[in-house]
């Protein structure tokens, strides 16, 4: 949230700080009363911390071929017979320590998901604001584009785009830049979600009289959009942002599963699951199931937090 209070230190001095206010207000109250939200946030923080600290926590570096011994492949986790000491979650098909690989993979998945959403939000909010505020022909062209793009679905656009890129550059070059391709395609393909939500909110806010009143005061459109309309459009943006992060992580995993995302040498959770799928029929379930569980838990807590945010902010999500 933009902090407009910074400019008025005198006025704000008499109020408790913004954060304290939020904690004491409805948001804090509903959070303290909601065990699901508390647990979800805790789990999310733990997963994020583990992922960020991967280089410190992981006993092996999965990107370093020298630390991998192919002879160690397909050992089960510690609680299953036939496990290998030192690999408590077992090893994958290439003999990598699954625990280390999952830590690094989670880091990649989270990073791609968050970056993609940042790209989406930047594109979508800008386009949505312009479309909603300017209106007219610009608006109808942009929204028609958004409709068409949306009806083709992100995943479809991403699959086609990545498939073509891979075919064009060859898989080796592709693998090298896969992170950027993924962020770009998931980021760009989802802009209509934000744009439509922001536009609908802007249209609703623009009708409110506080916008007219600042227009009569002579403020320019830039100031009105950024200082007045945008701060009032934040609730729906927050709500869709949580859902979008979850969706972006799922999209990344799906694309990597199809072989259109992260290569096995630099696995995200999706490519780990994909690699394990070939061994599931032979009984090496852990290579697929353990990263799968991590992925589901990660997405689930984000979705649960998203539900809570929606309930507490309760924005009117404008349709259209």
């Amino acid at each position: 949230m933009t902090d407009q209070s910074a400019e008025n230190p005198v006025l704000i001095a008499r109020r408790p700080s913004r954060l304290k206010e939020i904690w004491q207000g409805n948001i804090g109250y509903s959070f303290r009363r909601n065990p699901v939200a508390i647990v979800s946030l805790a789990v999310f923080v733990i997963i994020t911390a583990l992922a960020l600290l991967a280089p410190v926590l992981a006993p092996f570096d999965p990107y370093d071929p020298a630390s991998i011994d192919i002879m160690n492949s397909e050992y089960p986790p510690a609680w299953v017979d036939g496990s290998l000491p030192g690999f408590w979650l077992g090893t994958d098909d290439q003999g990598r320590d699954l625990w280390s690989t999952i830590l690094y993979g989670t880091r990649l998945s989270l990073m791609i998901g968050l970056c993609a959403v940042v790209v989406q939000a930047f594109l979508g909010i800008s386009i949505g604001l312009i479309s909603g505020y300017v209106g007219g022909r610009t608006d109808s062209i942009l929204m028609r584009l958004a409709d068409i793009q949306l009806s083709f679905s992100t995943l479809m656009v991403a699959i086609i785009f990545l498939a073509l890129t891979q075919a064009l550059f060859g898989s080796e070059v592709f693998a090298q830049y896969a992170v950027f391709f993924l962020i770009a395609v998931i980021g760009v393909a989802e802009w209509p979600q934000y744009a439509r939500t922001v536009r609908a909110t802007v249209l609703a806010e623009k009708k409110k009289e506080y916008v007219d009143s600042v227009r009569v005061l002579g403020f320019g459109p830039g100031r009105i959009m950024v200082r007045h309309i945008l701060p009032n459009s934040l609730s729906p943006i927050f709500v869709i942002s949580t859902v979008q992060v979850a969706n972006a992580i799922i999209s990344e995993a799906s694309l990597s599963f199809l072989g259109l995302g992260m290569p096995p040498s630099q696995p995200s959770l999706g490519s780990l699951i994909s690699a394990g799928f070939d061994y599931i029929l032979s009984g090496s379930w852990w290579i697929t199931v353990i990263p799968g569980v991590v992925l589901v838990v990660l997405v689930l807590v984000i979705n649960l937090l998203g539900d809570w945010v929606r309930d507490v902010l309760n924005p009117k999500l404008y349709k259209g």
Binding site: S153, A167, I250, F257, I280, V289, N303
Partner: protein, 326 residues
């Protein structure tokens, strides 16, 4: 209504043109048709001659026009790998995918309405809470993972259902073989259908529940209560129709996602449909097939979206008047 119809059809044509343009651009830039035809051992002069013969040196618009003309006659080139017209290859695979989509749609439509309505009417019952809990887990598991876990559980561990292929099918007409006429066919299609619906179903349950709860808060529902109307009639006559109107529009938008999910599901279950064919075509850089897939899928999107929009216009009395009212 007339203007509305014309508008929708124009829009559909415009979208198809854009798709064909993309398809054409791909065809021109991806892979070299000469290499596929003659290999690499031919001299540069011969190549140039061939290029002229094939019209590859014509201006862009001329080539596009030719491409468009051919496409309208159902000619989207010949698959490098299958050595057959690309359209035929796709049409052979189409029924398998459509049956899968049909199965999933049946599950989604059949379950989402009753479950969504139930959870909206009795939001505090434990059944509702369970449904909502399962559905949020449902939307958190990627389709391909659901598919893999189902295979591991029901095929590998329990051995209840086959894990790949279509099984025994019955020939119906043309390229259409169906799964729905044999027990083995049913056994094969059940798991892929469930997997394909595994994100969409919970999503629709949640959507219907949210819309229905909003409608139940409305003044006209309160007025119906004040008139002494029985609850079932309030739920199913007053509220349901108002609930489903926005759901129809969302449904139209989801068709694209559904097709994307078929690629994932077909890959996991080795289902011989268009989706897995497309991935193979990508791996083989079979450009005509890729382009043909793009155009056929695009066509399906556009047609279904247009139909959904028209249905919405017909069902919703407010739209009907706004459009009819000349």
């Amino acid at each position: 209504m007339f203007a509305y119809l014309v508008k929708r059809v124009f829009q559909a044509i415009a979208v198809m043109l854009v798709i064909s343009l993309i398809g054409f651009a791909i065809q021109g830039n991806l892979g070299d048709p000469l290499r596929e035809l003659v290999g690499q051992s031919v001299s540069e002069e011969v190549r140039q001659e061939l290029r002229d013969d094939l019209g590859l040196n014509d201006p862009f618009l001329v080539q596009y026009w030719r491409f468009l003309g051919n496409a309208l006659q159902g000619d989207l080139g010949t698959s490098y790998f299958f050595k057959e017209p690309a359209v035929d290859v796709i049409l052979k695979k189409l029924p398998a995918t459509l049956e899968l989509v049909f199965g999933a749609t049946l599950i989604i439509v059949g379950l989402s309405v009753p479950l969504g309505v139930y959870t909206a009417i009795k939001p505090n019952s434990w059944i509702s809470r369970a449904i909502m809990a399962i559905s949020i887990i449902g939307i958190s598991i990627p389709v391909f993972l659901t598919a893999i876990l189902m295979i591991y559980l029901f095929s590998v561990e329990l051995g209840w259902a086959p894990s790949f292929g279509r099984g025994e099918t019955v020939h119906v007409i043309g390229y259409w073989d169906t799964n729905f006429l044999t027990v083995d066919g049913w056994a094969h299609i059940i798991m892929p259908s469930i997997a394909l619906s595994s994100i969409m179903l919970p999503m629709f349950i949640r959507l219907i529940r949210a819309e229905m709860m909003e409608v139940l808060q409305s003044e006209y529902v309160r007025f119906a209560k004040a008139k002494g109307i029985a609850p079932w009639r309030i739920y199913f006559v007053h509220a349901l129709k108002n609930t489903l109107l926005p759901v129809i529009t969302v449904g139209g938008v989801q068709i694209g996602t559904m097709v994307a999910y078929t690629i994932l599901t077909e890959t996991v279950f080795s289902w011989p449909g268009m989706g897995s064919m497309f991935l193979e075509a990508v791996n083989r850089v079979d450009t005509p097939l890729i382009v043909a897939y793009l155009i056929v899928v695009g066509f399906i999107f556009v047609v279904t979206n247009t139909i959904v929009d028209l249905i919405y216009g017909l069902v919703n009395p407010t739209v009907k008047l706004a459009r009819l009212g000349a």
